[in-house]
């Protein structure tokens, strides 16, 4: 099974299972873009880059994935972005190994770097706050 799909499923489940995060991210959890009309703030995650870890004869040991996981919302409600980003870091900041339901597992997960920037949409300032998380995932 695709390691990326397994990682996304694990991230999605982990995010949604956290009641504190869900209280802050009232717009829900989205892979990539949220639907138009969703009320912020919400959580967004997506693949940033990746490289496989191989043996010398190119047998795959695990996938090394860099995933962005961030809060997205209005800067006027920045406190909610901070609260959500803090919870994201608690959930993914440093853990592993974790077995996955369909087989395989997350060997390790840790933050590679912080992520923070803002944009202007229809005259309103929006913020993105979260991190880039390095996930070593051995597929099923």
């Amino acid at each position: 099974m695709s390691e990326v799909a397994q990682a996304f499923a694990w991230i999605n489940t982990t995010l949604r299972a956290d009641t504190v995060l869900m209280a802050a991210a009232t717009g829900g959890v989205w892979q990539g873009l949220a639907d138009i009309g969703i009320t912020p703030p919400f959580v967004s995650y997506g693949l940033q880059s990746n490289s496989d870890v191989l043996t010398v004869n190119a047998s795959r040991l695990w996938a090394n994935l860099l995933v962005q996981i961030k809060m997205v919302g209005l800067t006027s409600n920045y406190a909610a972005l901070v609260m959500g980003a803090d919870r994201i870091d608690v959930l993914f900041g440093r853990l592993g190994p974790v077995g996955l339901p369909g087989g395989g597992g997350v060997l390790s997960c840790y933050r590679d770097g912080a992520l923070s920037y803002s944009e202007l949409i229809n005259g309103a300032a929006w913020g993105h706050l979260g991190g880039l998380y390095r996930i070593d995932l051995q597929g099923s």
Partner: protein, 112 residues
């Protein structure tokens, strides 16, 4: 009677310039790799962002910074509310890993 003699001073003197060369060559590989991802992602309109990827001197002789002159790179790379993330920085750096290791293997030749 055995005399005391070695080339450590000479090696030490050549080490920093050699590492500096490797850092510079790696940085230019990174620029090229990032630009290739920008092109592959279809993120070229005016070419300003593509052409603004460059190398700048870092804090030390053995450090180089990769800079992107157009500040909207962050929206293209990480996505926005309405724009999907189409990363080129991190994949470009990942692609540079093998080139850095190959250049690192030339260190001994550079200091002798």
């Amino acid at each position: 009677m055995a005399g005391s003699f070695n080339h450590f001073d000479l090696i030490a003197a050549r080490l920093t310039p050699a590492c500096s060369e490797i850092a510079a060559e790696t940085a230019w590989h990174a620029v090229s790799n990032i630009q290739q991802h920008i092109i592959a992602n279809g993120q070229v309109d005016t070419g300003d962002m593509l052409n603004s990827v460059a190398v700048a001197d870092g804090d030390t002789p053995t450090t180089k910074d990769i800079i992107i002159g157009m500040d909207y790179w962050v929206y293209q790379n990480y996505g926005t509310r309405y724009l999907p993330a189409r990363p080129f920085v991190e994949p470009g750096i990942e692609d540079t890993r093998a080139q850095f290791e190959a250049l690192g293997a030339t260190l001994e030749k550079r200091i002798t």
